[in-house]
């Protein structure tokens, strides 16, 4: 039997989302091995109990073969870190020997099986899903979604599937190597975390399959061309094909307002959102303070400004002088910034 491993990547504050993802993956693919990729340290008093989770395995940022790990972590905000680890985690999971590995963002929920992806990997090494499958029809759509794709990447890296073959492993290794040094939110500099890198993938690797099925990775950025509908037989469709998975990128009121922009006056997508919020609420455990991220602040609790991360990661002298940049007190990076203004 084909061995499929699937993983996601979170900090503790996204654990509830990862649990909803896991619940839906296990529902449609009970035989997959599910990994929780964790780039965080638990809040005091909180312990992750794998026995009571839908995940089978955990892989932590601390497990990754990255030299000067704390220094490397410091160079990333929470989004950058949780995306930067995806390449190394993919490589490590491939090393465990599964036939295929699927990555899904924690804020995705499956609505039916995604077996066609697994079938596509029989003849390809990598499967990617583009943000957009049809040209936008409005100026607003062009500005936000088409130019948005040019800025942030053609493919949405909330999903990637890789076959454990030489080409698949080579693609994973190449991506992981780039993410080690260049997984930053720097749109003017041509980077958007892990995502823009994959624009290069179909050119570098011949067997990259671009999945053009509108049922995969439906989200606010493509909703205007993929209206959600409920069919009489109980199926949920997106753009008239079965909905496979929805990417709930933002579930707060701002996210809801963005969905409104693209829902074209239809309300079905808000039923999905209402359901998702209910599942999130059921999967939210006490003990994790809102917005918790262990690498979000200095030792004394002061939040780390993004500017500090940018300066630190770009200066070898600072990295060499302050090997533990999170420390507070005398002769710390924090005090150096305070003095330098």
């Amino acid at each position: 039997m084909t061995k499929i491993h699937c993983f996601t990547s979170v900090s503790f504050s996204y654990l509830n989302r990862a649990r909803v993802l896991a619940e839906t993956v296990k529902k449609y693919h009970p035989d997959w091995t599910l990994w929780l990729g964790l780039s965080d340290e638990p809040p005091p008093g909180f312990e992750l109990d794998l026995e009571s989770e839908s995940f089978d395995r955990v892989i932590r940022v601390q497990d990754l073969p990255i030299p000067d790990l704390r220094s490397w972590i410091f160079g990333h905000n929470v989004v950058e870190l949780c995306t930067a680890v995806k390449g190394e985690m993919l490589c490590m999971i491939l090393d465990e020997g599964p036939d295929k590995v699927v990555y899904l963002d924690p804020d995705i929920a499956l609505f039916r099986d995604i077996s066609p992806v697994i079938e596509a990997l029989e003849t390809s090494a990598v499967v990617l899903t583009p943000h957009l499958l049809k040209p936008e029809q409005t100026l607003h759509g062009i500005l936000d979604n088409e130019i948005g794709s040019l800025k942030h990447g053609v493919y949405n890296l909330g999903f990637i599937a890789v076959r454990n073959c030489p080409e698949g492993r080579a693609a994973a290794r190449w991506w992981a190597d780039r993410l080690r040094s260049f997984c930053h939110e720097n749109v003017p500099g041509g980077l958007f975390t892990d995502q823009r890198w994959c624009d290069l993938m179909p050119a570098f690797f011949p067997h990259v399959h671009i999945l053009r099925d509108p049922g995969y990775n439906v989200a606010c950025w493509n909703l205007s061309n993929r209206p959600i509908s409920f069919e009489p037989d109980g199926e949920i469709f997106a753009d008239e094909v079965p909905l496979r998975f929805f990417h709930f990128t933002k579930v707060n009121t701002v996210g809801e307002a963005v969905l409104e922009l693209y829902a074209g006056g239809r309300s079905e997508v808000f039923e999905l959102l209402h359901w998702y919020r209910g599942r999130l609420s059921d999967h939210t455990s006490g003990g994790i303070p809102g917005g918790w991220f262990a690498f979000g602040s200095y030792e004394d609790g002061t939040p780390i400004p993004q500017e500090h991360r940018i300066v630190y990661r770009s200066r070898a002298d600072l990295r060499s002088h302050f090997p533990d940049p999170f420390r507070s007190g005398a002769d710390s990076l924090q005090s150096w910034f305070a003095k330098s203004g």
Binding site: F111, R112, F230, G234, I236, T253, A257, G265, E271, H274
Partner: protein
């Protein structure tokens, strides 16, 4: 300053909403451009500064005035200036799992409980001097205290059975619930009782069973009628029925509760779902899905154990229900709640605006939002006057007249009288449900009104088209409805109308007394 910006800014609005600006004596537009937008103030009633900044992060990042961006660019690019929340969205956001909701339903049990002996003597006293037998009737609440369609049916049949010499014992759960109760035995399930319309207290179902069994030794004719299962443990009913062995058991399809815990089958309360398979994706994201899966097996076991005769108020409802319930009932009949016949032509009405009515509860699932939209579109249109006929006034524009109507057991014809007296020309019957009978459609015709119906609203259009095809029109969707009102076709449609007479039926009595005299 750009002329478009000056034109779009509503100075009067700004000064009314922000009296501090008026008091400061500054130029309102300059105030907004300098600081107002940063404070989240709005330049007119159609632009929401905070919303625009939230939905356009690049504008927020640029530090540009959001209203300026909207007027110069956003409007032309199709960006909304204000959040538009549809009635559907409000309904969806309120959708809740009925098990969660039921926590608010819990009420204390009455301190005094009736015993089997006391019940037996009450039952025996009720048939002193003869009596043809006993009807044991079950529905979800107290049909005397609560006003509604099913409750009126139960009240009607109680009086008809009593008049024919039958005793009528009605039971409802002592603890009403918006779902089935937990699985309980008859000696664990409490019921509230009325005998021939009189309240006789609360008791365990097992005590009722004991009393009825003894009573039957002397008065053997006995039928069980299940109107509704809300709040009941079907297992307790099966236990009682197996002990009592009624001559016949009847189960009504007043709504689709036996298909789903949500009787009108409105997915997340927003749209008729057609009862897809309980394990479907749709049920997976519906607030009623989990409870539907919980109850499906219990309902099937109930029907299998009791093998009731199924009675439906319309063929439309029966056909739909049969296609979904998953088994073939041994016997099923259509017993309409009433019959309608033409009695006279409607005299011509003087030249005046067409009076457009909405009959009944101003609820989303009954099509109120559509009626509201119709009013919004024509509030300044001299061709129409809008009227709401119902029990409670809805928050609505001043352009809607309200006529208070309560259809209760003593005033079953109140709605048709009100429609006639208010000289309503059109009833907009835009129910979003798959109606099993649609009293209001019959009441509209009896009141002399023309019925404009949503085509797929269950028995609404079959009822109208079978009775008065010239006095109604079925439309596919809201767009067709709005087009009809925008155009000039209505006066011709309304020209030839009749007054009909609606006669209430005997509900279960129609079937039982005719089938088993």
């Amino acid at each position: 300053m750009h002329a478009a910006l000056i034109a779009a800014f509503d100075e009067a609005y700004y000064l009314t909403v922000y009296p501090d600006v008026a008091a400061a004596g500054v130029v309102p537009l300059l105030h907004y451009l300098d600081e107002g937008w940063r404070e989240g103030r709005n330049p007119n009633s159609d632009f929401d500064t905070r919303y625009y900044l939230d939905t356009n992060p690049e504008v927020a990042a640029s530090g540009e005035c959001p209203f300026g961006h909207y007027v110069m660019h956003g409007m032309a690019e199709g960006r909304p200036g204000k959040r538009r929340v549809s009635p559907q969205r409000i309904v969806i956001n309120g959708a809740a799992d009925p098990r969660e909701q039921s926590r608010h339903w819990i009420r204390p049990m009455p301190p005094r409980l009736e015993t089997a002996d006391a019940l037996l003597s009450t039952l025996d006293r009720s048939v002193e001097g003869g009596g043809r037998g006993l009807i044991l009737s079950l529905s979800h609440d107290d049909y005397v205290e609560v006003v509604g369609g099913v409750q009126n049916c139960v009240g009607d049949e109680q009086r008809i059975f009593n008049a024919a010499g039958w005793s009528y014992l009605h039971l409802c759960p002592a603890q009403p619930l918006p779902l089935l109760s937990d699985q309980l035995r008859p000696d664990q399930f409490y019921v509230q009782m009325r005998l021939n319309g009189e309240k006789i207290g609360t008791a365990l179902l097992s005590e009722v069973t004991t009393a009825v069994r003894t009573h039957r030794d002397r008065h053997p004719a006995f039928h069980l009628v299940v109107h509704h299962l809300y709040g009941f443990s079907p297992e307790a009913i099966v236990g009682a029925a197996q002990a009592l062995r009624p001559n016949s058991t009847v189960a009504w399809i007043h709504d689709y509760f036996t298909l789903c815990v949500n009787p009108p089958l409105m997915r997340n309360n927003v749209e008729f779902c057609g009862a897809p398979p309980p394990d479907s994706q749709t049920c997976g994201v519906c607030c009623f899905g989990r409870e539907r899966r919980n109850q499906t097996g219990r309902i099937a076991a109930f029907f299998k154990a009791l093998q009731p005769i199924i009675l439906s108020p319309s063929a439309t409802a029966l056909d739909f229900w049969r296609g979904k319930i998953g088994f073939n009932p041994p016997d099923a009949k259509v017993v309409p709640h009433g019959r309608i016949r033409k009695v006279a032509d409607l005299p011509a009405r003087p030249n005046r605006p067409i009076r457009v009515g909405f009959a009944g509860m101003a609820a989303y699932h009954k099509g109120w939002s559509t009626f509201e939209e119709l009013v919004r579109r024509h509030r300044d249109d001299d061709r129409y006057a809008f009227v709401h006929l119902g029990m409670h006034r809805a928050p609505m524009s001043r352009k809607v007249d309200f006529v208070q109507v309560s259809v209760s057991s003593g005033r079953r014809d109140a709605m048709m009288r009100a429609i006639r007296e208010a000289e309503i020309d059109i009833i907009v019957q835009w129910s979003l449900c798959y109606e099993t009978f649609s009293f209001t459609s019959y009441e509209a015709l009896a009141g002399g009104a023309f019925v404009i119906a949503r085509k797929d609203a269950g028995n609404v259009w079959p009822a109208v088209s079978a009775t008065a095809p010239d006095q109604g029109l079925a439309l596919e969707d809201e767009a067709a409805l709005y087009a009809l009102f925008a155009g000039n076709a209505l006066p011709a449609l309304l020209a030839k109308r009749s007054v009909y007479e609606f006669t209430l039926g005997g509900i279960t009595a129609d079937y039982l007394l005719e089938a088993r005299p």
